[in-house]
Amino acid sequence: MATALAQADDVVAVEYAARIEHVSKSFAGPAGRQLVLDDITLDVAPGEFVTLLGASGCGKSTLLNLVAGLDEPSAGTISTHGRPALMFQEHALFPWLTAGKNIELALRLRGVPKNERRGRAEELLELVRLKGSYGKRVHELSGGMRQRVAMARALAQDSQLLLMDEPFAALDAITRDLLHDELTRIWEETGLSVLFVTHNVREAVRLAQRVVLLSSRPGRVAREWRVDIPQPRRIEDAPVAELSLEITDVLRGEIRRHGQH
């Protein structure tokens, strides 16, 4: 993975895939301006897998939107290289296009010439193990297959940074486990940097090299954990469970503070 990164010319001088510096965000609410994110500073290194963990109201999706460039921070700066790819909880595939054409649209918007698109789309479908699904309509695919097509479409953007906003939260447990394996495999194969938002502690530990816990209302970086458990992990592994327990205790502590006044 390290060698793959060193080969790409534009990556050599870069020591971050995303740099979030003193970012705050507030929205106009019924009770005046409400601070959602407070002074967040966070780096995602090239090739790093970071999960953002937090309870409701920690502003994790807001932060992801800011990194994606869909919204502007109220204060602070966010630097990325090019436009990051973003995956949502809903697959957000376009129902008027087939699975393959959805991927091709991302290629087209990136400026890939017409004669290369089909082949590249087929490759990406193969990467997410959906060979032969090129002509399938979105509604003909199962939930897990849709999320994989969405992943292939995100990869088609050829961005260094993949942002994922609870992408597996709506899937059943069996499918989610399999997609964890897929995501880990694809992350290792592509050397992408991933910033993954979730409220599922075990999922965070299962996937990440680093887990960042956000406090709620306003969102602040509460604590960070390095996860040194070697991949491939499984969500049932004892070390995963152990670290999850530790993180859950801290998370509950954070949540408890909100009920005390």
């Binding site: 990051p84 973003l86 376009f94 990136r110 193990r129 309509r137 399999l178």
Partner: protein, 294 residues
């Protein structure tokens, strides 16, 4: 380590393939027989019932005045004569060509107008309410002013069609665009589809079902407006369309001719819908998985 890794990966792949197969529904074509008994037979039966009831009214002398209710045979003869004289298709074509051409004009005006109302706040605030209000104004109300402004000619017919159809088409597009899920717009923006690219690749295709519903309604309004115009404003220069045929029948006190005209107007309205708009709508909805197979 490496061997377990490949094993797990390959394992995940085969499990996934199994899961995909389990979760993918198998659908086939509906057999022809089922289409016949489900879709074709019921309207045929309904038509037969109406004809039988109609004939019964005549046979049992419940209605005994051919100037009020002609027999099905009389109306059939009227069709036969018009067909033998070669005028039947002329009647139909005069009205249909007018209607379709007017509809195309309405399409060319209503589409950009709808886009403008949907995308430009000022335009929406200015004419949005009027545009939806116009839909509830019966287009026959436009016939007298159109005759005064344009005279008894084809332009007046087209003007009435436009006033009837343009609001429907524009409103259909506006509601189609309003109902585009914000998620699609966000997904498009992260992929770089903003501005014109966003409109072309995301907004317009996403708005297509609403737009088509507007077209369908627009056609119904075009056809109705045209018939109203033809009935009210008949002139020898205009040729005999279906509306004029009805009016001629009334003037000649020929109830069978009036019935002939009514049936033809109904028939053309249904035929255009069945041949053009319904298949288009079904195709769009089905390809998006929005049409539940019953």
């Amino acid at each position: 380590m490496a061997s377990t890794e490949t094993k797990t990966a390959a394992d995940a792949g085969s499990v996934e393939a199994g899961l995909d197969a389990l979760e993918t529904a198998v659908t086939g074509r509906t057999p022809l027989r089922q289409t016949f008994t489900g879709k074709i037979l019921p309207p045929l039966v309904a038509t037969a019932v109406v004809l039988v009831a109609w004939q019964a009214l005549i046979s049992f002398k419940i209605v005994d005045d051919p100037t009020k209710l002609p027999s099905p045979a009389d109306v059939g003869n009227e069709f036969k004569n018009a067909w033998l004289q070669g005028t039947l298709l002329d009647y139909i074509w005069t009205s249909v060509s007018r209607g379709l051409l007017g509809f195309l004009f309405a399409l060319a005006i209503g589409t950009p107008l709808g886009l403008l109302v949907a995308r430009v706040k000022f335009v929406r605030a200015a004419i949005g309410p009027v545009l939806s209000g116009l839909q509830s104004l019966p287009s026959v109300a436009w016939v007298p002013p159109a005759v005064i402004w344009l005279g008894l000619n084809n332009s007046m017919m087209y003007a009435v069609i436009l006033l009837g159809a343009v609001p429907s088409i524009a409103n259909g597009l506006v509601s189609g665009i309003d109902q585009v899920p914000p998620l699609f717009l966000r997904a498009g923006r992260t992929m770089g589809a903003t501005g014109v690219k966003g409109a072309w690749h995301i907004v317009l295709p996403a708005a297509l079902p609403g737009y088509l519903a507007g077209l369908k309604q627009g056609w119904a309004f075009s056809w109705r407006s045209l018939m109203a115009a033809e009935i009210i404003a008949s002139s020898p220069d205009l040729g005999v369309g279906l509306g004029a045929l009805l009016e001629n029948g009334r003037n000649a006190s020929s109830m069978s001719m009036v019935f002939e005209a009514i049936f033809l107007i109904l028939f053309v309205g249904i035929a255009i819908d069945l041949l053009i708009f319904s298949p288009l709508e079904r195709w769009v909805l089905r390809s998006r998985g929005l049409l539940v197979k019953s």
